[in-house]
């Protein structure tokens, strides 16, 4: 049997995978034509390309996979004609293939409304990786961006413009509100408000008359005679099924596009199937990936003589649009009168939830969640499986359910047939079975059932099912560090303190098994450092340190290291600046001012590190701990010594803080800043702890961070005097060090902390646990035992010996290290 597939998108790929799984490889000959230059990739996560995912990482499978499966894959080669009489397809390259069965998986294209000027430079579509590459190139010369279309794809495109660094971004929608087909008026309005806070301006009820500009776009002219200036435009006004090939071959298509198919996904020619976004089933185009996968399953089954039919698909979705969660499930638009609605709205937090239940209060019909959607999976399952509602259905909506305690009946109540991962159609029963068969972690379940591998939306529920299944077998899953230690970090810290253990080996002997690994070693090393503050490279503990800590420097591309001396508060004398310059010159180091108000020297050979440190120490510097999960920088603004608005001397206070907590090791790195007034030039509210001067003293903010998931710090206490402020910081940091999981920044720790900021405030400010004095005492002990690690290495020949590349040729540097030149300095040679 020879099958030709036209289109190598997500659904075309899934069809190949499913067909091969069902049939013996030798019995089918599979040929695939794809128009795009690369094999099928994850279009659903297209926007993550801007967050650094590469084209390769987005691939569904590599070209080698197709080869291994015996699939002949023709890329960048669109099929141009189908001859149904002769049963052949003709591709652009001239290749002619015969077929027994033909599968059309041509997907859809962006719908471009007929607005004059759409051909101008700077107007883009948003569908393929090539579209993204063109946008990125153009964005270099653009500042402002606009999207036409306020639906799901339009908002994805708006996120892309944000990621590209555009400002003044507008979303133009023809309808009176956003996402008119998925969510209701109120939800739409709230979403619009939230997007506004993120810097996206939404213009509704706007009809674009023309796109202005000579050669390049300059703006949009609307029918109400208003004008919007913009440097680039993305059109995302809907999709248009790619049915041109089918039409030309005389297959039946719908009046508004789409290839007509029956329950078996057969077109009007029974040896030709259509699946995915090009197929029109009962007058409906399914613009989501899960129904497309189901179609692929039905055709693969049909061709393998299994009996299966497509009977439509639920359009429930949960999405993250520009960081805002939006979900709709069941029928989100049940007619009033046939249902009773419960609505929960918190404008301040930007949360809107609505559920519709039958008038007798017995069953859930559908609903909408905006701003907070953790109950989505459970609610969807409740609709789908017609589960009985709790006596007070409103509890389904109230507040975010605590982690691990799902709202409503919980996963236990679900029947085995309940579909958990709709992308890969994996049922609850299949997951339970796999867990029972010994696949007890989420990673293993992903591998053997494929659940959670596509959109990932079901991940929390899959984890819940794993947990409850294990529990039902009498196994308890605890938040343990790794296979070598069956304790949480907090438990480990207590055990190590009680037994006064001082080295990784002792800890392993007492509480662990095996030899440890790259997860537990640094975690234990960090606990030891937080408890005793011994030199971290002391014998036995050196090899337990994370690689950067082991050499007291960050390893960089090419295998050299960076050196960051501490410059407290960012204040430095001209003499010290000169000293840094001289060292950099002598050892040929690349120098750069960091984002943390200090200077980084890059490209140091391992064996030069102690020599460089020695010269820096002689000039009055010490380690800046840029490599450690430890206090990094305390940034400062110039403050009252020079600034006309400064209320207090923020530099002096920042230096005092940095010198107090320098070298303090913690579950993750800690950053701080001190601003001299509310203008906040030191960005204290983006730090693990930040301090802002007020008329009366200092405001202390905690648990903020930048990084990939930025979060603002929250006010812990206001108008503190300098001493009290430090006492609160002592307590706060020590409490964090003692209770956080490994590699958890303060923001994430707070998010998981039961009771949140109110509880934390009680512990730190009100001393509700009565441990305030103890925490302060422990911190003081760490402060008093501080020593510069660099100095200890420089002064200890035994430790210094570790700083050479070859054990049998200590004088020699790694000959494979290569540099290139850039703007008169060196840079690491490119990765190979």
């Amino acid at each position: 049997m020879k099958i030709v597939v036209i289109g190598n998108g997500m659904v075309g790929y899934k069809f190949c995978e499913k067909l091969l799984a069902k049939s013996a490889k030798t019995s089918v000959e599979l040929v695939v034509f794809g128009e795009e230059p690369r094999p099928a990739y994850d279009r659903v996560h297209l926007t993550s390309w801007f967050e650094g995912k590469t084209g390769d990482e987005l691939l569904m499978a590599s070209t080698e996979w197709y080869a291994q499966q015996g699939i002949r894959l023709h890329l960048a080669d669109p099929v141009t004609a189908i001859d149904r009489e002769k049963k052949t397809v003709q591709a652009h390259s001239g290749i002619l293939e015969t077929y027994d069965y033909l599968v059309l998986a041509t997907g859809s294209a962006a719908f471009v409304p007929p607005i004059p000027g759409v051909e101008k430079k700077g107007v883009f579509l948003y569908r393929t990786i090539e579209d993204l590459e063109m946008m990125t190139a153009y964005a270099l010369h653009a500042r402002t961006g606009t999207v036409i279309g306020g639906g799901l794809l339009g908002l994805e495109a708006a996120k892309a413009l944000l990621d590209l660094g555009m400002t003044n971004i507008h979303v133009v929608e023809f309808a009176p509100r956003l996402m008119p087909r998925q969510i209701d008026d109120k939800g739409s309005l709230l979403l619009q408000e939230k997007l506004g806070q993120l810097g996206l301006k939404v213009l509704t009820s706007k009809n674009t008359k023309k796109i202005t500009g000579e050669d390049h776009i300059t703006g949009l002219q609307f029918t109400d005679d208003t004008f919007l200036k913009t440097d680039m435009l993305v059109i995302s006004a809907g999709i248009k099924p790619r049915d041109e090939l089918a039409k030309a071959a005389g297959l039946e298509t719908g009046p508004r596009g789409g290839i007509v198919v029956n329950d078996q996904l057969q077109t009007s020619d029974s040896s030709i199937y259509a699946i995915g976004e090009c197929a029109l089933y009962q007058n409906m185009i399914y613009g989501l990936v899960a129904p497309g996968y189901e179609m692929a399953e039905v055709v693969a089954a049909h061709l393998s003589s299994e009996i299966k039919a497509f009977t439509g698909f639920d359009m429930s979705t949960r999405l993250k649009l520009v960081g805002v969660e939006v979900a709709s499930f069941g029928d989100p638009f049940s007619p009033a009168g046939n249902c009773h609605s419960i609505v929960f709205e918190d404008r301040l937090k930007g949360i809107y939830k609505r559920i519709d239940i039958t008038p007798d209060g017995q069953q859930l019909l559908g609903g909408i969640l905006i701003g907070e959607a953790s109950a989505y999976n459970m609610l969807l399952q409740t609709v789908k499986n017609k589960l009985a509602l709790p006596p007070d259905p409103a509890t389904l909506l109230m507040g975010p359910p605590k982690e691990g305690t799902p709202a409503g009946a919980g996963v236990d109540a679900l029947p085995d047939e309940a579909l958990i991962c709709s992308c890969e159609s994996v049922s609850k029963g299949a997951i339970c079975e796999a867990v029972t068969a010994g696949h007890e972690s989420f990673d293993e379940i992903k591998k053997c059932t494929k659940a959670g591998t596509c959109c990932g939306g079901c991940a929390p529920m899959v984890k819940d099912i794993i947990a409850t299944t294990l529990k039902s077998q009498g196994k308890y899953i605890r938040n343990v560090i790794c296979e070598h230690f069956t304790y949480s970090r907090q438990e480990m810290l207590d055990l190590i303190r009680i037994k006064s253990l001082r080295s990784f080996d002792e800890v392993l002997d007492h509480y662990g098994q095996g030899d440890g690994c790259e997860i537990c070693k640094p975690a234990v090393a960090s606990i030891l450092a937080s408890l005793w503050n011994d030199m971290i490279l002391a014998k036995g503990n050196d090899t337990a340190q994370d690689s950067n800590d082991r050499y007291l420097a960050n390893i960089q591309k090419g295998g050299t290291y960076s050196v960051v001396p501490r410059i407290p508060g960012g204040e430095i004398t001209p003499e010290k600046l000169i000293a840094i310059g001289e060292v950099a010159q002598k050892y040929n180091l690349y120098t750069k001012i960091t984002g943390g108000q200090r200077i980084d020297l890059f490209g140091a050979h391992l064996s030069d590190l102690p020599l460089i440190w020695k010269e820096l120490i002689d000039a009055g510097f010490e380690s800046g701990h840029a490599y450690g999960k430890a206090l990094r920088t305390v940034k400062s603004c110039v403050g009252s010594t020079w600034c006309r608005f400064g209320l207090h001397d923020s530099v002096s206070y920042a230096i005092r803080i940095e010198e107090r907590y320098r070298g303090l090791r913690a579950p993750h790195k800690i950053k701080s800043a001190v601003s001299g007034c509310i203008r906040e030039c030191a960005e204290a509210q983006s730090k693990d702890f930040g301090i802002i001067a007020t008329e009366k003293g200092w405001n202390l903010y905690v648990c903020g961070n930048g990084g990939s998931k930025p979060q603002h710090a929250v006010l812990l206490a206001a108008d503190l005097d300098s001493e009290t402020c430090i006492r609160y910081i002592d307590r706060f940091l020590m409490f964090y060090i003692k209770t956080a999981d490994p590699l958890t920044r303060t923001a994430t720790w707070l998010n998981k902390l039961d009771g949140g900021i109110d509880y934390l405030r009680n512990v730190v400010v009100q001393d509700s646990l009565g441990i305030g004095a103890q925490l302060e005492g422990e911190m003081q002990a760490l402060v008093d035992s501080y020593k510069c690690e660099w100095r200890e290495v420089v002064e200890n020949p035994e430790l210094r010996r570790r700083f050479s590349h070859f054990i049998n040729s200590p004088e020699e540097k790694d000959p494979t290290v290569k540099f290139e030149t850039l703007r008169n300095q060196k840079k690491a040679a490119e990765w190979k």
């Binding site: 070598h484 030899d515 790259e518 014998k539 090899t543 690689s547 090419g558 790694d814």
Partner: protein
């Protein structure tokens, strides 16, 4: 069963006491770099190429050692890909190339690494 016909050439790498417990060092052998690891808890030695195949970085000797289900492994300091020290295969990424592994012998406090004759010819 097959009998290997390559001869192994043992060269002196360093003193056993030069190698940190539960860690690694890099040994120069002609133009080659070999990572040598000592698992002190079990008194076991392993050696692999020093080059991490992922981004071609000479770094494995500076990686963290450990075990997974009792199989000894090393994690590259760059992106934490882990490799078995028994057969060199990549444990964290099926698609990644495997490391070359070398036999190690310790006599009288001296560590010898075995390289097959061909390698020896090229290297010396």
């Amino acid at each position: 069963m097959s009998i290997s016909s390559t001869t192994i050439h043992w060269f002196l790498a360093c003193k056993a006491s030069d190698v940190p417990h539960n860690g690694g060092v890099c040994v120069k052998y002609g133009e080659e770099q070999i990572a040598l690891f000592y698992f002190a808890r079990k008194d076991q030695w392993y050696a692999t190429q020093n080059l991490c195949p992922h981004r071609k970085q000479m770094a494995l000797s500076r990686g963290m050692t450990g075990t997974v289900k009792d199989e000894p492994k090393v994690a590259c300091p760059f992106h934490k890909k882990t490799f078995s020290l028994l057969d060199g295969r990549c444990l964290s990424d099926e698609g990644e190339c495997a490391l070359t592994v070398y036999p190690v012998r310790v006599t009288d406090g001296l560590v010898y690494i075995g390289v097959s004759e061909e390698t020896a010819m090229v290297a010396v």
